[in-house]
């Protein structure tokens, strides 16, 4: 019953829109969030926000228009702006928005026991600080946030989907002399984050790296943590799998379908229905029922990601990869839970340089894949143990070429944003030392 109370104006909006356009899609989000920030070991700020946002997309004779507002009371103005925007857009091949499907509406990433209040955030900070006590580094800053939101997708084709999501996120920064450590965690459920370990790891890295020594320039086997690997993949490789970038010739993988693009160890796929994952959802941002899409199977490129707009334009099928970064703009190509998988093994028996994080991954060349980054919290690792820390070094290479040099995937995976990935062992990478 809730639906009819909450969204009467959405039905009104759709009826109004149908007078002037062929189709309309309404995305409405409403939520509450609480965050608390640490300065050193004291809570300095507690913040709450009530968010809402409306995004409208209209389609008329293949012309797609959009507008958004944080004030749903102004939906008429927003609708007019969307229609005006469509008048300017170049018309394209368009075969219609999807109709409703009998999808299971059980929320996949909603923790009903999560209390979105300052006390929850305060307890998370306390637990992080407790973990941080493990090592003598000083905490400089930290943050914990909890939120709950409800997303509604409605269209002139009769779609009325509503889903609820929660999220919990935390991070801590520490320093020891001139050595810093950073760790974080996030999930949709409170009992799936581990604040004590976040605190412990942050001070561990700050303390251990303080003893770092320089190493000579040369080629080394490296072990990228899920975080470091995600930084490089997310900037360069994942965007190259977007159908939009492929057809616009902004992807180095454009002509590589059916070819080997990584070591045969590696598979990459989007699994929107992965149990327990943050990005799980039964429908995408355009209302298409989601399913798993395999981009790379045993090293071979087998698919790109599509939304409806790109699929219609280039005669392809949508892979239900439309996402919204918020209520603003139009849906665009993204992913739900991007998984890097393959045969797992022990990756740190033999001596290797472990890289916890990198500085400057976003400055990589997104077309060619060339990058050059400073290492953060790098160590030699051997026999499964941290050995000598490395003070400062640079890693230069090419994100596309590097995928062919992968020789092992760790047994454990970790979620970094919407990427779920293991640590990867890569042979012979160029490290510029001192």
């Amino acid at each position: 019953m809730r639906w009819w109370v909450a969204v009467e104006w959405i039905d009104q909006l759709i009826r109004e829109a149908e007078k002037s356009v062929d189709e309309v899609e309404v995305f409405y989000v409403e939520g509450t969030s609480i965050s608390a920030d640490l300065r050193k070991k004291k809570v300095s700020h507690a913040t709450t926000s009530q968010d809402c946002g409306l995004g409208i997309r209209t389609i008329r004779k293949g012309r797609i228009g959009s507008s958004s507002t944080s004030d749903p009371g102004r939906w008429r103005e927003c609708l007019n702006a969307a229609i005006a925007s469509g008048n300017l857009a170049t018309p394209q091949e368009w075969k219609g928005l999807p109709g409703p499907e009998p999808l299971d509406q059980t929320p996949l990433s909603f923790d009903r026991s999560l209390e979105v209040g300052p006390v929850t955030a305060g307890k998370l900070l306390e637990a992080m600080l407790e973990g941080a006590e493990e090592h003598p580094a000083e905490v400089t800053s930290g943050s914990a946030g909890v939120s709950s939101l409800e997303v509604t997708l409605a269209s002139s084709h009769g779609i009325r989907y509503t889903s609820r999501h929660t999220s919990v996120s935390l991070s801590l920064e520490a320093i020891h002399g001139q050595s810093t450590g950073y760790e974080f965690d996030h999930s949709w459920a409170l009992d799936r984050v581990d604040p004590t370990t976040v605190g412990e790891r942050a001070t561990f890295f700050a303390c251990e790296s303080a003893k770092g020594k320089d190493i000579p320039t040369g080629d080394y086997d490296i072990l990228l943590s899920p975080l470091a690997y995600a930084e490089l993949l997310g900037t360069v490789f994942v965007p190259a799998l977007s159908g939009r970038n492929v057809h616009a010739k902004r992807s180095r993988l454009a002509d590589c379908l059916g070819q080997k693009v990584t070591d045969p160890l590696i598979s990459m796929y989007d699994d929107p229905l992965l149990p327990g994952a943050d990005g799980s959802s039964c429908w995408d941002a355009e209302g298409m029922p989601t399913k798993r899409t395999d981009f790379i199977r045993d090293g071979v490129l087998c698919a790109f990601a599509y939304d409806l707009k790109t699929a219609y334009r280039y005669g392809k099928q949508s892979t239900a990869n439309a996402v919204r970064g918020g209520y603003g703009g139009s849906p665009s190509i993204g992913h739900h839970n991007f998984v890097v998988d393959g045969k797992r093994d022990t990756v740190d028996d033999e001596r290797v340089i472990f890289v916890h994080n990198v500085v400057g991954a976003h400055t990589a060349n997104p077309m060619s894949g060339e990058f050059s980054v400073e290492l953060s919290n790098a160590f030699f690792r051997e026999g499964g143990e941290f050995q000598e820390p490395i003070r400062s070094a640079m890693l230069s290479g090419n994100v596309f070429d590097l995928q062919h040099q992968i020789t092992g995937l760790s047994r454990e995976s970790r979620a970094i944003g919407s990427l779920i990935l293991p640590s990867v062992r890569i042979k012979k990478q160029h490290i510029i030392g001192k």
Binding site: S68, K249, G360
Partner: protein, 443 residues
């Protein structure tokens, strides 16, 4: 109200217009609206903050209820905050030479399409141009009776050209953004430059990493000032202990010739008429003649750290004010560009910026050039691509041995704490010795 020692309210309404043209196709174009406010309430134990979408101005009991809601959040805060006494003044917003709001979306779109088309050359396989225009009406008031109201607009465009040959894919990227009004007219040269850079890079070689002499162009040297010095001088980072510049006032960390400034009162892309805490904005010399001179502050870090002025608090609409840079630059020296290249003799010239990042606590930074040239006998020779620089804040500034006399500012955006604010960076040409250059090229 009981227990509340201070509050301030910053309410921002406005609209954003954008146009996206991709290979001749108008992908999207239109206008969106926003209305966001932030209410910060200081009680004995710290800040309670409310972020409100669709704020309607209210007074009396309704406003008191908001104050109480914010104050209640402070049940978990535990930090005594003292706010510094500050100067109040609002600068006039520079007039727009041509007001973008008076130009129709169709005309804007046609002009952007011309720029996009001008990025056409053989081997260019994709062109993309974006226009973005944002107008904000800002209303600030606080419990001390200060009130400021102003409207301000920013607009500009980016153009990207992608060149491809035998699997080698390269790009050229240009951007022009301004607070002075509409800037889409007569800009085809900018599109052509993006295309030429992309095509030239197809023949460039990967740079070889190592230590060498490097000449930085004004844009990249500006990013250097921003990453290597600007962030580490932010008062909130100094206060929490995550900056290597903490406690180094008066210490020499660079050559006599080096002065680095942040100035939100300068009419460049990072201009603010008054800061996000209602404080007067003015110039801070972070490094003066090679010596650590002053830090950037908000009212809180000014008291906690000292040395410098407040007026450096900035915020996105509806977001909490943070200590931020605005217009950051290396002051002109007295060398000419020719003298700098002659002094470099053999090394590398780096130009344009693909951005950078810093870990201010560790004092390590990294940034990337769009392209470069080998310098041989004082002349630019072979083009190189994908070159980055890393360094350590406390030692790298000594490596700047010459500053040119041709300072130029470049607009951009800077991220911190999940907020992105408009900034400009700038410098003259500078010469670095023993620069640590990263690149994947091999011998």
């Amino acid at each position: 109200m009981d227990g509340i020692s201070y509050y301030d309210l910053r309410h921002v309404t406005g609209e954003v217009t954008h146009i996206d043209i991709d290979n001749g196709v108008v992908e999207s174009a239109g206008t969106s609206f926003f209305n966001k406010a932030i209410l910060r309430v200081l009680v004995r134990s710290g800040w309670g903050v409310l972020q409100i979408d669709n704020f309607t101005t209210c007074t009396g009991r309704k406003f008191d209820e908001l104050l109480e809601r914010a104050a209640r959040l402070a049940v978990i805060t535990e930090e005594q905050v003292v706010l510094g006494d500050v100067q109040r003044r609002q600068l006039p917003v520079p007039p727009l030479k041509e007001d973008p709001r008076e130009i129709g979306l169709e005309e804007k779109s046609a002009l952007l399409a011309e720029i996009e088309r001008s990025a056409t050359l053989p081997l260019i396989v994709n062109r993309r141009a974006n226009y973005i225009e944002k107008f904000e009406e800002v209303r600030f008031s606080d419990s001390s009776g200060n009130e400021f109201t102003y409207g301000m607009g920013r607009s500009g465009f980016n153009v990207l050209a992608v060149a491809s040959r035998n699997g080698n894919v390269q790009m050229g990227y240009e951007r022009e953004h301004s607070i002075h009004g509409f800037n889409l007219r007569h800009q085809q040269d900018v599109g052509r430059k993006a295309a030429q850079t992309a095509v030239s890079l197809l023949d460039a070689v990967a740079a070889k990493g190592g230590k060498m002499r490097a000449v930085l162009d004004p844009e990249l040297a500006g990013v250097f000032a921003h990453e290597a010095v600007g962030h580490a001088s932010e008062g909130d980072l100094i206060q929490e202990g995550s900056s290597v510049l903490k406690g180094r006032t008066g210490e020499r960390i660079g050559n006599e010739t080096l002065t680095i400034v942040d100035d939100p009162s300068l009419c460049e892309f990072g201009f603010d008429p008054v800061d996000a805490e209602g404080v007067a904005v003015s110039r801070t010399e972070i490094i003066r003649c090679g010596v650590v001179n002053a830090f950037l502050h908000n009212r809180e870090s000014l008291v906690a750290v000292g040395n410098g002025i407040a007026g450096h608090a900035r915020a996105m609409p509806g977001e909490p004010p943070l200590v931020r840079m605005s217009n950051t630059f290396i002051e002109n020296g007295d060398s000419t560009k020719e003298e700098i290249f002659a002094e470099c003799k053999n090394g590398i010239f780096l130009a344009g910026s693909r951005g950078g990042q810093v870990d201010p606590g560790r004092g390590v930074f990294q940034f990337n050039a769009e392209y470069g040239y080998l310098v041989e006998n004082g002349e630019c020779t072979k083009m190189v691509r994908d070159v980055s620089l890393t360094g350590e804040i406390l030692s790298t500034l000594h490596q700047i041995v010459l500053c040119g006399n041709d300072r130029k500012m470049s607009p951009g955006y800077c991220g911190k704490g999940g907020q992105s604010v408009p900034v400009s960076d700038g410098a003259p040409h500078v010469l670095l010795v023993d620069a640590v250059v990263g690149g994947s090229g091999m011998d």
